[in-house]
């Protein structure tokens, strides 16, 4: 930035000060304007955004302190220098506390004034550069697309827009595969914290001690195998967002510790004594009924109320069948690009099949079904035959079985077909691995 691009406004009722400062700045090549009172200054400001302001404290009518506040209201990034006589240094200090960049006392030391202006210009260049970088980063951080035009999804999108710019703790509730992490990402990327990272922790995937270490970090030697000091997710999320998935799976001891961190924003690493301050926003997700867990004492009531400040309930895919065509087309487009296959759509018959299905694994299951269909498809459109479940559509379910029996049987079938490969089975069933482990435990399924 060349000096002629820096616009300076001098506001002082003393003509000598105005003229001398203007002449001095003009000699340095700055673009200078001046006026004798605050009202005139406010008129000029309404037309021009100056970079640096020199405001005399004592002026007839509105004084420099008040004018400073008005300027900051219009241009929060304005760099304001307060001009004061020796007698009013206290007022200048007050102005600094109110956000003035610096103050200069009359008569000015030319060496000091020169440094102050150079610093202000440096600050201005850095601020502009920072803004430009943030803007370019913004375009590199596209907000994840939430697909669906149903009324329920419109409400979800509105909720995200409302809560994202705040710092409020959000709880996202929904069945597995409904897109809880996607919603969390969307909230994070529309918040002020978007330039810091969103750190995700799946609380259901760790044992009690491992989760504690994962969240809080640990000091070297804190436990067997702790060879190095390690930062926890709470520390890594400083300035950003902490996404706690499956919050209901947190053990009671960790619940107490987490509550304390949420309230004090301070914690110590496992095996350490140093208090570490951190600043993060919490977004939690659960697919379980936390209210029931609270009633039965499995989840702390105080923590529950602390994290359930703003609730977003994601509908299951069954509750928004009208979104299936849009979702289907979205996934077809996505995998067409990925697989480089010329598949452009789906037949009405196949779409009807998808809309009749129950989708216990929700959108994740739908996505996996379409991915799999696109692998086997040979035409330009996905047909009914491309979907593996079409043969079972008319249900082989015996009316004497409970839903749980059917789920158990289906899990065993898929596991057997895939040689008990949990990851593969999870993918086919459209759920994540932790859900499979949970179901194995619930139904007492053991590998033969």
């Amino acid at each position: 930035m060349v000096q002629s691009q820096i616009k300076i406004l001098i506001v002082d009722d003393d003509e000598i000060v105005r003229d001398s400062l203007s002449a001095w700045f003009k000699e340095d090549g700055y673009n200078v304007d001046s006026c004798e009172n605050a009202n005139e200054a406010l008129k000029k400001i309404s037309n021009t955004n100056y970079d640096i302001y020199f405001l005399d404290i004592k002026m007839p009518g509105m004084d420099g302190i008040e004018l400073h506040k008005r300027i900051k209201n219009i241009y929060p990034d304005a760099l304001v220098m307060i001009i004061t006589a020796y007698a009013s240094v206290d007022t200048a200090v007050k102005a600094l506390k109110d956000g003035a960049f610096d103050y200069i006392t009359k008569p000015f030391d030319p060496d000091y004034l020169s440094h102050v202006v150079k610093n202000a210009v440096k600050q201005k260049i850095l601020t502009d550069e920072n803004l430009r970088l943030k803007e370019s980063l913004q375009s590199a951080l596209p907000v994840p697309e939430i697909i669906g035009s149903s009324k329920k999804m419109q409400e979800i999108k509105d909720s995200i827009k409302t809560v994202a710019p705040t710092n409020t703790t959000v709880m996202i509730r929904g069945e597995s595969g409904t897109g809880k992490e996607l919603v969390a990402q969307s909230i994070h990327l529309q918040s002020e914290r978007k330039y810091s990272q969103m750190v995700s922790v799946n609380c259901g995937a760790f044992s009690e001690s491992l989760l504690e270490s994962e969240l809080f970090g640990h000091e070297k030697g804190a436990f067997t195998g702790a060879l190095y000091r390690r930062k926890g997710k709470l520390e890594l999320a400083d300035g950003g967002t902490l996404f706690l998935d499956e919050i209901g799976a947190i053990h009671p001891k960790t619940q107490v510790e987490l509550l304390r961190v949420i309230e004090t924003k301070e914690f110590t690493r496992v095996g350490g004594s140093e208090a570490i301050k951190t600043d993060f926003r919490i977004i939690c997700a659960t697919n379980s009924n936390l209210e029931e867990d609270v009633r039965e004492g499995r989840f702390r009531e105080d923590l529950y109320y602390r994290i359930r400040v703003y609730l977003i309930e994601l509908p299951s895919l069954r509750e928004r069948i009208s979104d299936i065509p849009e979702l289907t087309q979205y996934f077809i487009d996505k995998y067409r690009r990925k697989m480089n296959k010329p598949i452009e759509g789906i037949t009405q018959e196949a779409l009807d099949l998808l809309m009749r299905k129950n989708w216990p694994g929700n959108v994740r299951e739908l996505e996996n079904a379409i991915e799999r269909a696109m692998v086997v498809s040979t035409g330009r459109e996905l047909t009914k035959d491309d979907f593996y479940f079409q043969k079972d559509e008319e249900s082989q379910i015996s009316s004497g079985l409970t839903l749980a029996d059917i789920e158990k049987q289906h899990i065993i079938t898929v596991l057997k077909e895939n040689d008990w490969n949990i990851s593969l089975a999870a993918k086919i069933l459209g759920v994540d691995r932790t859900t499979i482990y949970h179901k194995l435990k619930t139904y007492g399924i053991e590998r033969p």
């Binding site: 000699e27 340095d28 008569p107 000015f108 004034l113």
Partner: protein
């Protein structure tokens, strides 16, 4: 370029004038004339509040007597109302300027006298103020004599001549 006239009032380094004149001759490539102006009483420009002399008023007082570019050398401490001090002062595109040796002298900063350094500083200040008389603003090039210098360190850092850009501007402004 027209002739540059140097004059002096309450100037403590008369024996250096010839050396300064010769240095200016070689830098500027013009004949620098040493001239006496009428005896002026600097007391009229003295501020009892500040213990310094008002540079703007001195220029105003001598401006009627300047036929060509004119730089007045003095050893009194100069100020203008908004600044605590100035090394020198010139009106942009004017005819007269004033340069003080008061704060160019190492002894002002409690250091041993260094007459060679002082002579260099005086020459740089004269060339700098002459630049303003010729219509030049401060130059962002640190080594150009037209770079702004509010301390002797900055003055010592820069050269004693105009940079190519400033020379071009002088030609354009005065053609």
């Amino acid at each position: 370029m027209e002739l540059l006239t140097l004059s002096k009032v309450e100037f403590d380094y008369e024996e250096e004038l010839t050396a300064i004149q010769s240095k200016l001759n070689s830098i500027l490539g013009v004949r620098v004339k040493l001239n006496k102006i009428r005896e002026i009483d600097l007391e009229a420009f003295y501020s009892y509040d500040r213990g310094q002399f008002n540079a703007a008023k001195i220029i105003e007082a001598i401006s009627g007597e300047c036929e060509n570019y004119h730089v007045l050398l003095t050893s009194v401490d100069l100020f203008i109302p908004i600044f605590t001090y100035v090394f020198g002062l010139a009106k942009l595109n004017g005819k007269c300027a004033v340069v003080s040796t008061h704060r160019l002298d190492n002894e002002f900063y409690g250091l041993p006298e260094n007459i060679n350094q002082l002579r260099d500083r005086i020459v740089k200040e004269v060339v700098h103020e002459l630049g303003h008389l010729l219509g030049l603003q401060h130059c962002p090039n640190y080594y150009c004599v037209m770079a702004s210098s509010t301390s002797v360190d900055e003055l010592d850092l820069k050269g004693n001549n105009y940079c190519p850009d400033c020379k071009t501007q002088i030609v354009l402004k005065n053609s």
